[in-house]
C-alpha cells in the first residue's frame, strides 16, 4: 500500500467529504462576517436556516412539487429512452432514419422551448414534466445504444447459433450487458432532470422551488432564495446517489470486471 492510501484509509469514507463541506461553509460564513456583507446581497448560513425555519411547510411543499416533476419526467424518459434504444438497435434502418432527427432535436436549447411548452400545455405541472423528459431523454438513449451495441461478437454468434429469438437475446444477453453503460446515461440524466424542472419552473413560476427563487428574487428576499437553492442541491444530490445505489444493487458485477 502506498503511503497516501495508508493515510486516507484511516478516515471514515464520509470523513473527508464532510470535512470539505464544513470548511467551505465556515469560509463563507466568516467572509460574510469579516466583510460585513448584507444578507440581501449574500446571506450567512444562519440567515438561510432562519429563512427555512420561518416557513418550512411552504418550502417543503414546493420541494415536493419539484421532486414530483423531476421523478415523473425522469421515469418517463427512462422508459421511453430504453424502449426507443432497443427499437433502434433491433431495426437498424429505423436508426438510420431517426437518429439524425433526434440529434437535430437535441441541439435545440431546451431553455428556449420552456415558454412554448406553457403555451401548448398550460400552467400546470405538465409542461414542466415534458421539459424534464426532453432534457434527459437524449443522454439515456445515447448511453443505452452504446451499451446495446457493445455486446461481444462471440455472444452474438452464440445466440444466433442457438436460434435465439430477439426477445431472448435482449433479455438474457444484450440488455444486461448494456446496463453498466445505461447507468452512465442515467447518472447524467438525473442531474439534468432537476435542472430541467427548475428551468421550467422559472419560466412558469406557478409552483416548485424554481418559482420560490423567482418570487423571492422579486422581493429581494435573498435568504429565502438561498434556502430554496440549498434544498435543490440536497434534492439533486440525493437523487444522484439514489441512482448510484440502484446501480450497485442491479449491476454489482460491473465493478468486478472493471477491477
Amino acid at each position: 500500500m502506498t503511503p497516501a492510501r495508508a493515510r486516507s484509509a484511516r478516515w471514515h469514507p464520509l470523513g473527508l467529504p464532510i470535512l470539505g463541506a464544513v470548511s467551505a461553509i465556515a469560509l463563507w460564513w466568516s467572509a460574510t462576517a469579516v466583510f460585513g456583507i448584507r444578507p440581501f446581497f449574500l446571506p450567512a448560513p444562519p440567515d438561510i436556516v432562519a429563512a427555512f425555519r420561518a416557513q418550512p411547510a411552504y418550502l417543503l411543499r414546493e420541494a415536493g412539487a419539484t421532486l414530483t416533476e423531476t421523478t415523473v419526467g425522469f421515469g418517463i424518459a427512462v422508459l421511453a429512452g430504453l424502449l426507443l434504444s432497443v427499437a433502434l438497435t433491433v431495426w437498424r434502418t429505423l436508426e438510420r432514419a431517426t437518429l439524425p432527427v433526434l440529434v437535430a432535436l437535441n441541439s435545440v436549447p431546451k431553455v428556449a422551448v420552456a415558454p412554448l411548452l406553457v403555451v401548448w400545455l398550460g400552467f400546470g405541472p405538465r409542461p414542466k414534466i415534458v421539459l424534464v423528459v426532453l432534457i434527459c431523454f437524449f443522454p439515456i438513449v445515447v448511453a443505452t445504444m452504446a451499451g446495446l451495441t457493445s455486446t461481444p461478437a462471440e455472444l452474438g454468434e452464440l445466440s444466433r447459433s442457438l436460434s435465439a429469438s430477439v426477445w431472448q437475446t435482449y433479455l438474457k444477453i444484450r440488455l444486461p450487458w448494456a446496463l453498466p453503460q445505461v447507468f452512465v446515461g442515467l447518472k447524467v440524466a438525473i442531474s439534468l432532470a432537476v435542472i430541467g424542472a427548475v428551468v421550467a419552473e422559472i419560466s412558469n413560476p406557478s409552483g416548485g422551488l424554481g418559482a420560490v427563487i423567482v418570487l423571492s428574487g422579486m422581493s429581494l428576499d435573498t435568504p429565502l432564495a438561498f434556502a430554496a437553492i440549498v434544498l435543490l442541491a440536497l434534492l439533486s444530490t440525493a437523487l444522484f446517489y439514489l441512482v448510484v445505489a440502484l446501480e450497485r444493487l442491479l449491476v454489482p458485477w460491473a465493478r468486478d470486471i472493471t477491477g
Partner: protein, 250 residues
C-alpha cells in the same frame, strides 16, 4: 456426415472482393475429430462459420446428413477463442444459458451442467463468477456451455490460443478425454501443430488466401496420445514434421 462440395466464399470489402475460401472439398465422418490448420487469414474461421450456418457460401454446397446447411442448427455447437461468458452469471448459470434459450427444462439439465463442470475439473467452482476464475477455467466453462446442448457436431475456433502453453496442453488433454468418452464429431481450428497432432484423426492443411485444401493428413496414432514420453513418440514427431513442412512450404 458433413460434406463440403466445391465451397467458395468471397467477402465484399471497400477495396474489392476478397476470396477467403476457394473450391473446398471435404468430407467429415461421424465421430471424427478433424483439425483445420493454416496460417492466419487463410479462411479457417470462415470455414467454421460456414459449417455452423452463420455464413452462407458464395458457391458450392454444404450438407449435414444430406440436408443443405442454410441456417444455424441446434445440433451444432460453437466455441470461440474468447470464452465470452456472461459476467453476471455464475459458472453454472453460464453453462445453463443454452438450455434456457432452447427452452428446455432447467431442472432436468441442472444436474448435467454440474456434471460437465465436474468432468473438466471445476468441481467446487460452480458458484463462482467469471471474474473469479482463471483464463483456463473460463474456457472450460465455455466448453461445458457448448456441450450442454448435447451437440452432434462441435465447432471450435482456436479455443485454446489465448491461454498459456501449459494450460493449453492441459485443456487439449481434457478435450481428448471428452472426445474419447462422447465422440462428438468435432471440427477444431488451430494454428498449433502440436494440438492438431494430439487431438485429430485427420488434419486438413489450408493454403494461404484464398484458402484451399493443400493436403489432408491422416493421424493414426493410438489414443490416448500425450505430449510427454510415450510409446509413439516417433510417430508424433513424424506427423509434426510433416505438418511443419506442409505449412511452411513455398
Amino acid at each position: 456426415m458433413i460434406n463440403l462440395d466445391r465451397v467458395s466464399r468471397t467477402f465484399q470489402t471497400r477495396t474489392g472482393d476478397l476470396a477467403a475460401l476457394r473450391d473446398i472439398d471435404l468430407r467429415i465422418d461421424e465421430h471424427q475429430f478433424v483439425a483445420v490448420i493454416g496460417r492466419s487469414g487463410c479462411g479457417k474461421s470462415t470455414l467454421l462459420r460456414l459449417i455452423a450456418g452463420l455464413l452462407t457460401p458464395t458457391a458450392g454446397t454444404i450438407t449435414i446428413d444430406g440436408t443443405p446447411v442454410l441456417r444455424p442448427r441446434r445440433e451444432v455447437a460453437l466455441m470461440h477463442q474468447r470464452p465470452a461468458l456472461l459476467p453476471w452469471r455464475k459458472a453454472l448459470g453460464n453453462v445453463m444459458l443454452p438450455v434456457e434459450i432452447l427452452g428446455w427444462s432447467r431442472a432436468a439439465h441442472r444436474a448435467r451442467a454440474a456434471e460437465l463442470l465436474d468432468s473438466v475439473g471445476l468441481a467446487g467452482f460452480h458458484e463462482r463468477h467469471p471474474h473469479e476464475l482463471s483464463g483456463g477455467m473460463r474456457q472450460r466453462v465455455a466448453l461445458c456451455r457448448a456441450l450442454i446442448q448435447q451437440p452432434r457436431i462441435l465447432l471450435m475456433d482456436e479455443p485454446f490460443s489465448a491461454l498459456d502453453a501449459l494450460t493449453r496442453e492441459e485443456l487439449a488433454t481434457q478435450l481428448q478425454a471428452i472426445h474419447m468418452a462422447q465422440s462428438v464429431t468435432t471440427v477444431f481450428v488451430t494454428h498449433s501443430i502440436q494440438e492438431a497432432v494430439l487431438l485429430a484423426d485427420r488434419v486438413v492443411v489450408l493454403s494461404p488466401r484464398p484458402g484451399r485444401v493443400r493436403q489432408v493428413l491422416e493421424v493414426d496414432i493410438p489414443r490416448p496420445r500425450s505430449f510427454g514420453h510415450n510409446a509413439h513418440l516417433a510417430d508424433v514427431a513424424r506427423c509434426v514434421a510433416e505438418l511443419h513442412d506442409l505449412l511452411l512450404r513455398e
